[in-house]
């Protein structure tokens, strides 16, 4: 059995009249990645700020590494790292100086500090830029440095608040690789994101936060099962072929203008083979075939009640 690194029960926080967190429950097992998924203003950052001792909760309990965030912030701080939405780097220093600053504040000792800094510069591909002022760094480099600074003391729990927001696709993938590497080393990661693909790529579990509450919590696959299954979309050359195919297959939906047919499926290869087999037997040519499996977009929109423009358009 795994121990939980983060335990949150009934967490509440309001700013004036505005209720930001309205009873959040969340458990993160040690050594796993949990994504906190939600639209802007859902309370993701507030949750992370409470767990990293920056903000006091109004109600509920939160434990990180077994330490109460309200009563033992020192204990929590000793084992966590936070990389926030806005880069928490010293813009007047060089990358190397930033890392050395962290190493000193973590009391690594001169030799270990030097070794660790060199290691991180190498690992995060910042060797060349190490002695340059931060003003010359790109967004991706700043974010990498930010995360490297968080990792100087190898914390056991890391909070990543929207780690890839505003990054280009290449930097995003680099960031993802880094997160996977951390998890491989046994670090517990709680990451917030508004990107569904990011949660799908990285997370063992996903908690969907909306309006200050967790509206769904489970593995990516479990969440995908919450929405209607996938389908195969077949396009034909003319109306005659479309007619013939729709008589041949069960439970289809017709799209006259697109000359297309939508067949529900469980997404398995067997179902696909059956459909194609029947069409082959009737000598029907298919112009185009596409398979749609439910993704987290569908889940997200179904759960948070937003209109899914992509689906209604088809």
């Amino acid at each position: 059995m795994t121990t939980s690194a983060i335990e949150v029960h009934g967490l509440r926080k309001s700013y004036g009249d505005k209720v930001v967190l309205d009873g959040v429950d969340l458990t993160v097992a040690a050594g796993t990645v949990t994504a906190l998924l939600g639209p802007n203003g859902a309370g993701k950052t507030t949750t992370v700020h409470i767990l990293s001792t920056l903000v006091q909760p109004d109600g509920g309990t939160a434990y990180v590494n077994g330490c109460d965030v309200a009563r033992d912030p020192g204990g929590v701080r000793a084992g966590i790292g936070l990389t926030g939405q806005f880069s928490a780097v010293d813009g007047l220093l060089t990358g190397e100086e930033n890392l050395l600053l962290m190493a000193r504040l973590r009391h690594l000792g001169a030799d270990r500090a030097k070794a660790r800094v060199a290691e991180l510069l190498e690992e995060f591909d910042l060797v060349e830029a190490a002695r340059k002022p931060l003003a010359t760094y790109s967004g991706g480099m700043r974010r990498r440095l930010d995360l490297a600074m968080t990792l100087v003391a190898t914390p056991s729990v890391i909070f990543l608040d929207e780690p890839t927001t505003g990054l280009d696709p290449r930097s995003r993938h680099t960031m993802w690789d880094i997160v996977r590497g951390l998890v491989a080393e046994g670090t517990t990661v709680l990451l917030t994101t508004q990107y569904l693909d990011e949660a799908d790529e990285l997370a063992d579990r996903i908690a969907v936060l909306d309006g200050g509450r967790i509206v769904a919590d489970g593995t990516p696959d479990e969440l995908k099962r919450l929405v209607p299954g996938g389908h195969i979309r077949l396009r034909f050359a003319d109306a005659a072929a479309l007619d013939a195919a729709s008589r041949l297959l069960d439970e289809t939906a017709r799209d006259e203008s697109g000359l297309a047919l939508t067949v529900p499926t469980d997404g398995g290869v067997g179902a696909l083979r059956t459909v194609l087999g029947r069409l082959d037997a009737a000598n029907l040519e298919v112009d185009d075939l596409s398979i749609h499996t439910p993704d987290l977009d569908d889940v997200f929109f179904a759960l948070t009640g937003r209109v899914d423009t992509k689906e209604t358009a088809s």
């Binding site: 204990g75 007047l92 600053l101 056991s156």
Partner: protein
Amino acid sequence: MTTITTTRPTTSDTRRQSHVVADAVTMLRRNLLHIVRYPGLTVFVIGAPVVFLLLFVYVFGGTLGAGLPGVDLAGGRAAYVAYVMPGILAMTIAGTAGGAATTVAMDMTEGITARFRTMAISRAAVLAGHVLGNTIQALIGVVVVLGVGLLVGFRPSAGPTDWLAALGMIVLIAFAISWLAVAMGMQAKSVENASNLPTPLLLLPFLGSGFVPTDSMPGWMQWFADYQPFTPFIETIRGLLLGTPLDWNPALAIGWCVVIAVAGYAWSMAIYERKSVR
């Protein structure tokens, strides 16, 4: 993967306490590095009192000096250099407050302060780094301004012990003003606001015995001038460097320093917790 499930508040607290000094030194190094890397603010902060010194000696000095008790018309400027120097030194220290407040306010918006708070670093260490950095900057300023003063004819009569005492007094004033400046920088809603908040401090040497004797002022202003902190600051430095009567001024000056430093410390510590999140 090992997980720490035991709560150990006492050990982590004592561990933190023992690191306060080391952390304060680390933060001080960071602030000194900022000064070396970006000297613009420092140059401005030190340059202003030098300009004021030259202005008051060469433009106003002749007339103002002649108005001092027991000085004849011909010796006005030379007498005024001696008279104005302690006031300019106090102004130099007060002037660093604007720089310190700006630096602190910039830090608060940078997000790195939030990072410091999620680490096991004591609040006092982060703030002390700023205070010590600014105290050092103020000392550099005082040395530069004194140097210019000597060039334009300032001739102090102080012996080695007087110099040492004056230095101690200056360090103490700079330390106290720095705590106040750090608090102002934390209080400020923006960086622009932060650079303005300490401006009244720059006026205080004028509203005291810095530039003219207080007994030449109207009664109500004289009352304010005699009881505000900068008058004992200036009178103590003047007494130590030039041998004017000290009276109660050193005790008053030290008392004010303690009050200002404690108030600035308490003020900034209180804001630190609630303001460093964006």
